[in-house]
Symmetry: C2
Amino acid sequence: MAEDGERKEGFSAPEIRRDPLSGAWSILATGRSRRPGAVPGASREPACPFCPGNESMTPPEVWSAGRKGSAPDTPGWEIRVVPNLYPALVPEAGERGWRKSSRVGIPAQGDHEVIVHSPEHGLSLGAMDARRAAGLLGAWQARYRHFAAMARVRYVQVIVNHKREAGASLEHPHAQVFALPVVPRAVLDELRESRRRAGNCPLCAEAEEAREDDRVVAENRAWRAFVPYAARAPFELRFAPLRHAGDFAAAGREELAGLADVLTRSLGALSKLLGDPAYNLWVHAAPCDGKDYQHYHWHLEMIPRIVISAGFELATGMYLNIMEPREAARQLRVSAG
Amino acid sequence: MAEDGERKEGFSAPEIRRDPLSGAWSILATGRSRRPGAVPGASREPACPFCPGNESMTPPEVWSAGRKGSAPDTPGWEIRVVPNLYPALVPEAGERGWRKSSRVGIPAQGDHEVIVHSPEHGLSLGAMDARRAAGLLGAWQARYRHFAAMARVRYVQVIVNHKREAGASLEHPHAQVFALPVVPRAVLDELRESRRRAGNCPLCAEAEEAREDDRVVAENRAWRAFVPYAARAPFELRFAPLRHAGDFAAAGREELAGLADVLTRSLGALSKLLGDPAYNLWVHAAPCDGKDYQHYHWHLEMIPRIVISAGFELATGMYLNIMEPREAARQLRVSAG
C-alpha cells in the first residue's frame, strides 16, 4: 500500500488519486513519461512499432484477426492487439486503497491495451470501407468483453486519439482500451441524468430532436450521427443506436455494421471538409460492475481538435463553442455528398 | 427567447445550452468565430490591439490604472480594461430560459472583459516584479467586485491564457473576466466537497499536507504555492491563502501582495525551467449569489500546457499524469533558486 511518504525512486505502480478539492480522480503513471513524444522535443522513434515487420517493437500480441496461419508477432494480421508499453493501469498494481488525511487513492489496477487498426500506416477509421470498419468494431467489442467479464473491472473505456494534436503518441491508427477499477466521473454524470429521467431517455429524445433541428449528419436503420444541441466544440458528433440499450458488449453484428456505416461516413466527411483534422473519439457504455443500468443508452462521442480548449473550460468545466450546431451538421452533410 | 427552431441567420445573442446527456453547460457564442486565430490558418492581426498607440483597435476602455492625466483610449495607462470584442456573454442577451423537450438553455447574459496586464507586449505575469503584480491583482479584484455586485451575476470567473498553445488569441499578456448567470460545474464540485467536510476544509488540509510531502514550491506568511497530491498534469500548481476565506472580493491589500509574491516566484521558476511554457491560470472563489459559503476556501490553480490532454481525459473526466507531484515541486524549487 503505497503512500506518498513511502514512495521509492524510479518506477512505481500507477496510482489513482482523488483530488480533495474537486473529488476528481487522476491516474499518476510515471512510467508513461518514457513513451515517445510524451514530452515535447523528446526524440521520436524512427520506425513505426505498429507497422508489419516491426512486431518485435511492441509487447507480445494478446489478440489478432486476419491471420491465415502466420505466427503471432509476425506479419500477416489484419488487426493486432498488444499491451500498452507504457500502461496507465497494470494488473499487479494491488488492491487496497489508502486514506491519509485528505490524501485518498487506490492502486491503478487494471489493464491498458492498444488495438492496431490495420497494417496500413495511413489508413484512418474515416477512410476505411464500412465492412472493414465493422470488423474493427468487432475487435473493440472482443477486447471490451474480455475486460468487462473481470470481477475487478468496473468500467472499460475505449478511445481513439487521431493524430498527435489529439494526443496520439504514435500516428499509425489505433484505439486504446482502459480497464478501470472505478466508474469515471463523466460516465457517472450521464448515469445520473439518465436515471433522473428514467422512462424518458435523454439520448432517445436527443436523437429525435436532432432530426427535427436538422442536426443529423448520417443515419441508417440502426444508428444516427448528429451534432449535439449543446455541442462543446465545432463539428462535435454523437453516434447513437436508435434502439435504447446500455451495453456495448451485447451489441449484435448488425448493430456494429450500422455503427461502422455512420462512423465511416461522418469521419470521412469531416476529413474531407477540414483536411483530415485531429480528433478524439470514445465509447460511453454502461459500467460492467453488475448493477442495473436499464436507463442508460450507450453511444459514441467525437470532438475534433481544431480549437484549443483554454482556461475558461479548465476553470469552469463549461465549454465555449463558436459554431452553430445546425451549421456544423449542414457543412458535414454537404461534404458527405 | 431564442429557440433552435427560430434561429436567424448571422449573428445572434450567445446562449448557454445544457447537454441532456451529461448535464454540462456549453456557451454557444457564434460571434467569437470572427476573433483572430479562432480557426487555424485564419489570418492574424498584424498589429497588437493591446499595445499602447493601438487603443482604437479595441472597444473603449472601461477601467484603467496608472494614467497621469492622459485621456481614455490613448497611451499612458499601466493597466487597461476593455470589453471583449468577441464576447461569450453580453448584458442584453435576455433573461428567460427555455425548455423544449430535452433542449434546455438560458441566454448567455453577463459580461466578458479583457484586462491588459501592462503596456509591455513581452512582460508576462511570471516576469513582473511582485509589487507590480500586486497592483495587477488589485485590478482583477476591482473588476471582480464590479461584476460580483450585480444582482444577475452568479459567478465571476477570472482566467489567464498564457500564449497561443493555451488558447490565447492574442499574445500580449492579459486576463479575461467572465460574469456568468450560472455557477460553473467545476465550482459546484468544489463547493460540494467542502460542504461535505465543513469544519475540516479540504484546502486547509491540503496546504498543510503539501508541506509534509515536500510539494511546496513557494510560500510566505499569507500564501502557499504547491503541487497538488492528485495533480492533473506535470507542474500543476495550486495557490492557497493560509487564512481560510471564500471571497476574493474581500481579500485585503496585504493578502494580494502575498499572492503576488508566490505567483511571480512560481511562474518565474516555471518559465525558467521549461522555457516560458504556455499555461492556463484561474481563480476559484465562492459564488456571488448571496448564499452562505463559509465552508469554501478561495484559491488559484495553474496548469501548464506541456502535454496534450487527449481522449482519455475527454471520455472519462479523469486525468492521466506522468509526473510525480513531489518531483515536479523539487524541480520548480531548484529553478526558483
